[in-house]
């Protein structure tokens, strides 16, 4: 009962906070305090739900029936728990970071920004705890719409154009493919509940299952599977805290999370593996993984490079689902966590660099490490985590994905995963490497009347602290890998007694 209440509050607290945020428009300090406190309380509530879940009572509640047989319900299961902790935990970090960033840049419409931010997190938490596909879809769309003003925040022609691409692609895929897929499942299975082992066994002809999976894989545009990835680079016009939280954590992770949920609880990995319906998806994901990594190599704009890196790293998760075995699912979920922690660090670093030096291009960063040692050290740590080397969290996710590929007997895919990591060495390491280990050159040495910059000049403390926290988080995740693995073993993959299915 208490846990259900905590679950209820966890989902609706961010929405409730928006009213308060709007009312505090004229008191920026109070408003930003509310943001941070809401984030803290949300995380606390998510932890309470976790404790209940570990104790055997995850809590659940349903609101009302939108249409007959289609209620809005919420429940707790391991995947959603991980995503909820991720979204609410990193919200704290970014809420603090955003204060430093937005004020240092003197951005306008900060209240609108804070409100939409809270709405987006509420959307992400709703997705995390959604008890059926219908509920998930509602919050998925809410997340799309609430992040639109964040992307368009600057209101410049470029921001408008970027936001238009963002919204068009996400809505096109979700309404054009995702929704028909949901209705298809509804007409075929008569239910949209997430059910261990899936609900499609014996209800959808294996011959058309790949088609249904395609509607999901491309319909969940937030997973940024090529060729529907264009929205992600386009969204980089947003202020950096938005890119950090939404396009490293909430939005993109909502995409791959939805894909994981669909794979595990709608199709069921048993169904996927014995029908071979997801085999093609593994190859498409592999292609997406390699191609976007190569594109990332060519990008000089730091945020664009990070965006394509995200597209590539998300394909790892899609690949994990497509492998349709336990290691694949665990590896995919871990990749969701590890990549979030590392990529948010990278984005916040990019923002810190912009705030301090107004530089956005990789080629301009050479030697800047002497001026911003903390930022670039954090950047280095996060890069190594994304590449997948110990002792950083990313090592685990790559490891389990490799195991998954091996279990599936796909030797070529093992090669693809390795190649992806190799490419990420090339597009990520030079950024921190050149900044830290090369001497300053060009404009970086000439600031304030030809005086060579000595000494450290970092971003404001409110920007720097979150960066250090998440960089340390990348390290910590390596040492908590075993606990996470043990938790993810709880994901129910096998079908329970069929008659329990409605």
């Amino acid at each position: 009962m208490i846990i259900s209440l905590a679950l209820y509050l966890a989902i609706f607290l961010p929405f409730a906070a928006t009213g308060l945020l709007a009312a505090l428009d004229r008191w920026p300090n109070a408003r930003d305090a509310v943001s941070v406190v809401t984030a803290l309380v949300s995380f606390g509530l998510a932890l309470t739900v976790l404790r209940g879940f570990l104790g055997g009572d995850g809590g659940s509640f349903s609101l009302l029936e939108v249409m007959p047989g289609l209620p809005i319900v919420f429940g707790v299961e391991p995947l959603g728990m991980v995503f909820a902790l991720l979204a609410s935990g990193l919200w704290i970090v970014v809420a603090i970071y955003a204060i430093g960033y937005m004020r240092a840049n003197e951005e306008s419409h900060q209240t609108r920004f804070a409100i939409c931010f809270a709405l987006a997190i509420g959307g992400a938490l709703g997705i995390a705890f959604a008890g059926n596909l219908f509920t998930l879809f509602i919050f998925y769309e809410a997340l799309t719409l609430s992040t639109y003003p964040l992307v368009a925040h600057k209101q410049t022609p470029e921001a408008r154009a970027g936001a238009r691409i963002y919204l068009t692609i996400l809505l096109t895929t979700s309404i054009g493919f995702f929704l028909p897929a949901i209705i298809w499942v509804w007409t075929a299975a008569g239910t949209l509940d997430f059910f261990p082992g899936g609900i499609l066994e014996g209800r959808v002809d294996p011959a058309v299952a790949p088609l249904l999976l395609a509607l999901f894989a491309y319909g969940i545009g937030k997973a940024a599977l090529m060729p529907f990835h264009r929205w992600l680079p386009a969204a980089m016009v947003a202020p950096t805290p938005v890119s950090a939280l939404l396009h490293a954590v909430a939005v993109v992770k909502a995409g791959v999370f939805t894909l994981l949920k669909v794979g595990v609880y709608i199709f069921g990995i048993g169904y996927l593996s014995h029908t071979g319906a997801s085999l093609w998806l593994a190859w498409v994901a592999a292609a997406s993984l390699i191609i976007s990594a190569v594109i990332a190599l060519t990008k000089d704009d730091l945020k664009a490079r990070l965006a394509y890196s995200t597209v590539s790293q998300l394909a790892y998760v899609t690949l994990g689902v497509a492998l349709a075995n336990q290691m694949g699912i665990i590896g995919g979920t871990m990749q969701m966590v590890m990549h979030a922690m590392a990529k948010i660090t990278l984005f916040m670093c990019a923002g810190a660099i912009y705030v301090t030096t107004h530089k956005t291009r990789v080629s301009e960063l050479t030697g800047l490490g002497r001026q911003m040692p903390f930022t670039f050290t954090a950047f280095l740590i996060a890069s190594v985590s994304i590449i997948g080397l110990p002792p950083l969290g990313g090592a685990w996710s790559k490891w389990f994905l490799l195991m998954g590929a091996a279990d599936a007997g796909q030797t070529v895919l093992i090669g693809v995963l390795a190649l992806g990591s190799l490419l990420s060495v090339f597009y990520l390491l030079p950024v921190a490497g050149k900044a830290l280990f090369l001497p300053p050159r060009g404009a970086n040495t000439l600031v304030a009347g030809d005086a060579v910059i000595a000494g450290i000049s970092e971003a404001p403390l409110l920007c720097l602290l979150p960066i250090c926290a998440t960089a340390l988080g990348c390290v910590a995740l390596f040492f908590f890998g075993n606990e996470l693995y043990a938790f993810l073993l709880r994901i129910p993959l096998l079908a329970v007694a069929r008659e329990a299915a409605p």
Binding site: L64, V66, F137, A142, I175, G176, I183
Partner: protein, 500 residues
């Protein structure tokens, strides 16, 4: 309520508004609005009573003057037309509350008495069409509503002289439609010698298929589809809706075409009961493709309109296409989707046209270009517009989503995949035209030196009532989907030999 009065409710609401209309004209500008509003509120109350008493499936049959059908005229209230009556009278009340300020600004005060008289006549006609169980009576009320609608549209001339040609075009087209309809009725009467709908259905069924019946069917179909603006018979609609006074557009867009869809449903499923493959094939081979083309073409045209009202008018044509798609599928879920969309679109589009009317009043324009930055000056109006727009797109938790869900479900269940995909694809077109407005309103700066204030409360309240309903019935559709599904069952049940 005394039993005797209760018994006469079906006819009372029609008579009441009919009698109130000349009173409005006589009372003149000062009292006309009050009389009209009072009459429509009473009509609405009666409708609510009727609706609640037929919700359980009972059918009220009222004999005018005590003459039993098929000789006398019968008013027949079942769940389907009670639902339609609810929409019509409810929208009428809200529009009238909204109209006071809007009409004062858009129409010369000397015409107010006549305006409200015409409004009430239009309401009378629409309610009469919905409630009557007599086919010829449908035609009579149809003409009452149409003639008064022509007059109402023409009153837009005070703001825009082109309203006169718009009304004239509508008059020509509407009259052609009515002529087709009445010729069709004549053929059916020739064949059966009766005009009572239930009796007609029975006798047509006994007659079996024949050429006169087919001809009659085609005439009725063309007449009605012209009146409800099915593509390509829609040409009267964009001008009429964009030039008419804002309140009139809000009212007509939500009721006139919807009532026509109702009549079409009634004729198709209750009278030409689909015992013959002919009717079904006409629907599937002719109406269904036309509806699909109409959805796409009208949506695309809407994208390129600069005038907000014109854009919404084209959007209406597209939305009518959805209703036709549902009924042309000839399945229970399809008909249900049509009926529920009839309601959902009525409240959505009325809210949108009301927002457009607020812009006319406060900004003096409906040009999207000139409405730049309006989101900051008129936050409540624009927010209502966004709610309506999201509903047009079919975003979850709005009524538009519910409609789209049932419609797509109906087509997937029948295995008509391409149509299902077209439906979802076309909602992306509506995204395109809605978002142009949203972007202009929120992400662009207002033109220099323009002062715009928020609309008065008397306009905001009805608009937000409708916008709120667009959300409420999108979150909890139990009432509307129950009503629609029962109505669909009753209709399909009424067709005694359902075509397979």
């Amino acid at each position: 309520m005394p039993e005797a009065l209760f018994h006469h409710l079906p006819v009372l609401q029609v008579v009441l508004t009919l009698v109130a209309a000349p009173l409005c004209a006589l009372a003149g500008s000062r009292w006309a609005w009050s009389i009209a509003t009072a009459a429509s509120i009473i009509a609405f109350a009666i409708t609510v009573t009727l609706f609640s008493s037929v919700l359980d499936g009972t059918v009220i049959s009222y004999h005018i003057g005590g003459w039993a059908p098929p000789i006398g005229i019968e008013y027949r209230v079942d769940i389907l037309n009670a639902f339609v009556l609810l929409i019509v009278s409810g929208i009428a009340v809200l529009t009238l509350i909204y109209a006071q300020k809007s009409v004062t600004a858009e129409i010369g005060s000397e015409k107010h008495g006549l305006f409200y008289a015409a409004f009430l006549l239009c309401l009378t006609g629409l309610m009469g069409v919905a409630i009557t169980g007599d086919a010829f009576n449908v035609f009579v009320f149809l003409e009452i509503s149409s003639l008064s609608a022509y007059a109402l549209i023409a009153t837009g001339a005070d703001r825009d002289r082109r309203a006169l040609t718009a009304a004239y075009n509508y008059l020509i087209m509407g009259t052609i439609g009515a002529t087709f309809f009445v010729i069709g009725l004549g053929l059916l009467y020739m064949l059966t010698g009766t005009l009572n709908m239930a009796d007609l259905a029975q006798r047509l069924f006994d007659h079996g298929d024949n050429r006169t019946l087919r001809t009659g069917f085609c005439f009725v179909l063309i007449g009605l589809t012209l009146k409800l603006a099915m593509f390509p018979l829609h040409l009267w609609l964009p001008d009429a809706y964009s030039r008419a006074p804002s309140a009139v557009t809000a009212f007509l867009s939500a009721t006139a075409t919807k009532v026509m869809v109702y009549v079409l449903l009634r004729f198709l499923f209750a009278i030409f009961s689909f015992s013959f493959a002919f009717e079904a094939s006409v629907l599937r081979v002719l109406v269904l493709p036309l509806a699909m083309i109409g959805i796409v073409v009208a949506s695309v045209v809407a994208i390129f309109q600069d005038d907000l009202k014109r854009m919404l008018a084209y959007s209406s044509i597209a939305q009518i296409g959805y209703m036709l798609l549902g009924l042309a599928l000839v399945s229970q879920t399809g008909v249900m989707a049509s009926i529920i969309h009839l309601f959902n679109h009525a409240i959505t589009k009325a809210a949108l046209f009301m927002a457009a009317g607020c812009f006319v009043l406060q900004a003096g324009t409906t040009s999207i270009r000139e409405l730049r930055g309006i989101g900051r000056d008129m936050p409540w109006t624009m927010a209502a517009f966004v709610v309506g727009g999201l509903s047009l797109i079919g975003v979850p938790l709005t009524v538009g989503f519910i409609s789209k869900w049932y419609l797509v479900e109906a087509f997937i269940a029948e295995g008509w995949w391409p149509v299902a995909l077209l439906i979802v694809a076309s909602s992306l077109l509506s995204f395109a035209y809605v978002w142009r407005v949203v972007e202009a309103a929120y992400l662009r700066d207002a033109p220099e030196g323009v002062v715009r204030k928020e609309a008065p409360l008397s306009m905001l309240v009805p608009m937000w009532t409708l916008a709120g309903m667009s959300i409420y019935f999108g979150v909890d559709s139990s009432l509307t989907s129950a009503a629609a599904s029962r109505a669909a069952n009753a209709l399909i049940g009424a067709s005694n030999l359902f075509w397979q």
